[in-house]
Symmetry: C2
Subunit: 243 residues, 2 copies
Amino acid sequence: MPGLSNTALPLYEKVKDFVLDNIGNGNWPQNEKLPSEHELTSSLGVSRMTVHRALRELTAEGYLRRVQGVGTFVSPPKAQSTLIEISNIITEIKARGSQHRAEVILLERIERPDKMLLDAFEFKKLCPVDHSMVVHYENGVPVQLEERYVNTELVKNYLDQDFTSIGTYDYLQHSTPLTEVEHLISAIPATERHARLLHIRERDSCLVLHRKTWTGQTIATVNTFTYVGSRYSLGSRYLPPKK
Amino acid sequence: MPGLSNTALPLYEKVKDFVLDNIGNGNWPQNEKLPSEHELTSSLGVSRMTVHRALRELTAEGYLRRVQGVGTFVSPPKAQSTLIEISNIITEIKARGSQHRAEVILLERIERPDKMLLDAFEFKKLCPVDHSMVVHYENGVPVQLEERYVNTELVKNYLDQDFTSIGTYDYLQHSTPLTEVEHLISAIPATERHARLLHIRERDSCLVLHRKTWTGQTIATVNTFTYVGSRYSLGSRYLPPKK
DNA sequence: TGTCTATAGTTGTCTATACATCTATAGACA
DNA sequence: TGTCTATAGATGTATAGACAACTATAGACA
């Protein structure tokens, strides 16, 4: 066995590299049992704590699986390479070098939310809810209809903001720490209202992203983002943390 | 200062909880400098290595920022984690307790791919490509049309598999280590073929997930998954590692 | 044969200690 | 006043040793 590289890295990093190399070149195939910490300690000439740290970190990173009393095993390749990151529309438009414009369609307080809305927030009693509807344009073409319902208990002054200059996202992120997020993506045919606001025809396909956010145990916001199917794709390119 | 909880947790976990509590209740606000490892060591009555491990892990989790020679600081709240995980359809259907069935529509080798396909693979020369089309049923109702094009240089024996019993995903994952994945989600109206295979009407909305995978610098597979918009949502609920 | 038990082997945690490395700063010096 | 330097104090790494907790199994025993 070749042993550790002689770069300037800390020892535990060299041990991690050593293990990753053995996995990468097929020396230790999937589900293979690694040498025990004790064996690695003597064969690599480092202390057990150092080996232990390396293996523990690789376990946290998903490369290994450890069972107390049994041993350390090579994990099957991560299914984690199937993550899609949702970024906010304004950042995204600007990142493409396009010009962004937002049009506020509606900004209101709903004092008496209907049953559907109360259920969405899992409210027991009648609570007011702030409501915004904004259309985002990329180079003058409507791309996204953003509809947000906001818990007025948790988010203050939501209605006083100028969402043509500040992103709703930016305001919410700074005003409310969120503890949990739920996403749902689906496809729907455009309603008459979608068609009017997004300049498409009724029944054209739209991509809908539902997002619910929590602060503590309480639902903070309920959001629906509707994208024009033919003009927009959610996307991501993911590079696994190879080494 | 109250000190550590007296639960059955390991000490370093208690130290982590202690720090998180102090951050959570505003005791240590954003960018506050924490007591030094030495101070925590004496005030909490644990060894420095234990304090160090707790702080190191909290740093990896994004709660703290450490600067050698200077100190440890409370990090600003994490950027909103907006990741969506794509799991494979068979796992998903079974996880819902539904019955899964796969119907292989087509399984063929394309000896002379057309220009669109060659471009998708970024092939310079003419290479054969394997092609599969499978419809996945949940409790007898079609949910997903799975279409895959596979690089025959990288994936062997693709056509010999029985994809009614093995998931295409499972076979590919075991046969080819993948180094990079690209996803694109969009919404399209159903074509006549979609309508026929998925038992919907033409122009009904479908959710389309494009996935391209790389092995090294080479494109290994090009995939299109078409979901019935009204029957399916991609989703995820993400729980930040709070505590 | 079947069941229980002691044990060897493995990982998990914790401590005490040492030295390395980096940063800010007080104080010497020009 | 300005610059350099030694130093205190902070985090980073590494070791040796001890004990705890868990698992599989060989071997004793009924």
